[in-house]
């Protein structure tokens, strides 16, 4: 997997994930992911458009980062998961606790303090 970040403004970061979010993939990015989602970013948007696959290990990575962002008062949302991946998020009930957006503007607005 690959991971990159773009600052949308001083407080909002868009984290771009690409590749399979399975055990191997998550292992490759988890440290960087945690770093990119850390302070002082108040808003974190995770762009999933380039992730064709996700298993429960991927859900765990998203949950862990979502929790740590929420714990420090920030906001964490997902952007544009592919259909099969979105299905996993919905089936597991994760969409009820981490908001999924299909549009960058809406995602940005939702994490803007």
């Amino acid at each position: 997997m690959n991971i990159t970040e773009e600052l949308i403004d001083d407080h909002i970061v868009k984290i771009n994930l690409s590749g399979r979010m399975d055990i191997e993939g998550v292992g490759q990015i988890e440290t960087k992911f945690a770093g990119m989602a850390a302070s002082p970013r108040a808003g974190v948007i995770v762009d999933m458009s380039d992730v064709p696959y996700m298993s429960s290990i991927g859900i765990r990575a998203l949950l862990m980062n979502a929790k740590s962002v929420a714990k420090r008062g920030g906001k964490f949302v997902l952007l544009n998961p592919q259909a099969n991946v979105k299905n996993v998020l919905v089936t597991s009930g994760i969409d009820q606790i981490i908001t999924i957006h299909s549009d960058l503007d809406a995602a940005t607005a939702s994490v803007t303090p």
Partner: protein
Amino acid sequence: MTAENYHQLVIPNELSAVRKMSDWLDAIILEMDMSEEIVFKFDLCANEAVTNIISYAYPENGKHEIELSLWLESGVLSLEIEDDGIPFNPLDRWPHVQPESLEKAEIGGLGIDLIRKFMDECHYVRHEGKNILKIMAHIAP
């Protein structure tokens, strides 16, 4: 059962072998002309099941083999996963709880819950020292 529709793979009980299993599964199911959705759900469920086996069926560790068999018969695509670990039925090990809040969300049992929801049938038997998990999807004609 026609030979062309029956496929087997043996992998070691190592997480590093999981990607190879996915590649094998994806290739065969695509060749069967199945939809992307079917490929995805078998890839997902196999990952969840095999990860659990590798993590929990061998408390003494050691080198073991996990056998996967995939076949299409009478409109049903079946994947059977066999291991010689301790008696371990992943299906009844974890009850599922839908996460009600971010703070309370846990992922224990999530993998098994995904298998139950994405597959039409799941069966487990313990037979002659082996755990045999069979997961099946009914393929629309």
